[in-house]
Point group: C2
DNA sequence: TAGCGCATGTACCAAATGGTACATTTCTCC
DNA sequence: GGAGAAATGTACCATTTGGTACATGCGCTA
């Protein structure tokens, strides 16, 4: 059951969609790439929309897993954690996943049906753990929320920049500019020596 | 010549595309909405791709004009200028244009043909004037570039957030958090009293 | 007014798309 | 090993798509 035919098809579809995007997808092209017929896709997923819905759902799940993984080991200072996260996200191998993420994001903003559930989670999923980190570092609620939201925006904005320009150096410099000039200033009171807060998300 | 039939069609198409997005556009639906036939669209623009190319080009032009308009009157302190720009961008009436912007952005990242020229400009167009402003306020080149890039990312990231969540209050609070905690700190030396630097972009 | 070029409407086409009917194979469980 | 269900392949269908042929209208200039 773990790798039922449907599951195998979905996994292969995720690979394909990560490479080729979701916008111009047709069942026949996908099926050909997967070595099957479009008949099977309809059989297992009901319809094209059904397939896309599951693709988006799976994408969400992977992202959630990725989030908790990135934010997990918080023993190091938040600023170092943030640096590490950006380095991970800025790796070239991540680009296809991120392109897909922003493509689905944009389609959701345009109201495409199979993305209906996405908009509620696309910010909140990342915001919650970030706010929690900020609270743990002694930030008052309002500031914790604003700071988390800002960090998320910085990360996504710089990722958009990186994907468009390919300027790893420039975008990383901007992130470093943010981390060094901004992060140390927000949470003056905290644990022992000045660990401050955490930013980051995709 | 100013409002040739082609020009009128393009203008009406911009309206339509701003409302309905560009991803699921078909010539027939568009033509029906414009009160003409898809025959005319092909006649004037050569093909669907030709039409989309001109739509993207026009969108770029409008954005460039909007940029220079927003960054024009720089008599006020950069932080107030930044606030004003965000208020403009966050207005609900701007949402459709911004949704279209991010949709085209995402399609460009996926390599759709009619967007080829976009990726080179989509960051640079906004970056240049921002860097110029930072330089005018006495920032060294490297810092001016990083700071401009950061401000652009913050704005676009928060716009993505706002479009998804509709949380005008929360995103504006995050922007204000950025402006008050970050902006005043970057350029300590400057003109007279502490005007510092400018951030902003869409 | 005659003529010419731009613009437009109607009808059509081939290709591709999502989806389905039906037959066949493969797997699973008793 | 046999029966029933799950899975798959082949062929087909109606619809929609971008694009075109052809005829008609409109506006300008001589």
């Amino acid at each position: 059951m773990a790798d039922s035919p449907k599951e195998r098809l979905l996994a292969a579809t995720m690979d394909y969609v990560t490479k080729h995007g979701i916008g111009e997808l047709t069942l026949r092209q996908l099926a050909a790439a997967l070595g099957t017929s479009h008949r099977m896709l309809v059989y297992h997923f009901g319809s094209k929309e059904g397939l896309l819905t599951e693709v988006v759902r799976r994408s969400e799940a992977e992202q959630r897993q990725f989030t908790s993984q990135l934010l997990a080991d918080s023993d190091q200072p938040p600023i170092d954690q943030a640096r590490r996260i950006w380095q991970q996200l800025a790796q070239p191998e991540m680009a296809p996943r991120e392109r897909l993420f922003f493509e689905v994001y944009a389609q959701a903003l345009q109201g495409r049906p199979h993305t209906r559930a996405l908009l509620d989670e696309i910010v909140e999923t990342w915001l919650e753990p970030l706010i929690a980190i900020n609270r743990q570092n002694g930030m008052p609620p309002a500031e914790a929320a604003a700071s988390a939201r800002l960090g998320l925006a910085v990360t996504r904005g710089l990722l958009l920049d990186l994907l468009a320009t390919g300027d790893h150096k420039g975008t990383s410099a901007a992130m470093e500019h943010f981390l060094t000039n901004y992060l140390p200033l927000v949470a003056p009171v905290s644990k022992s020596r000045g660990t401050q807060k955490g930013k980051r998300k995709r």
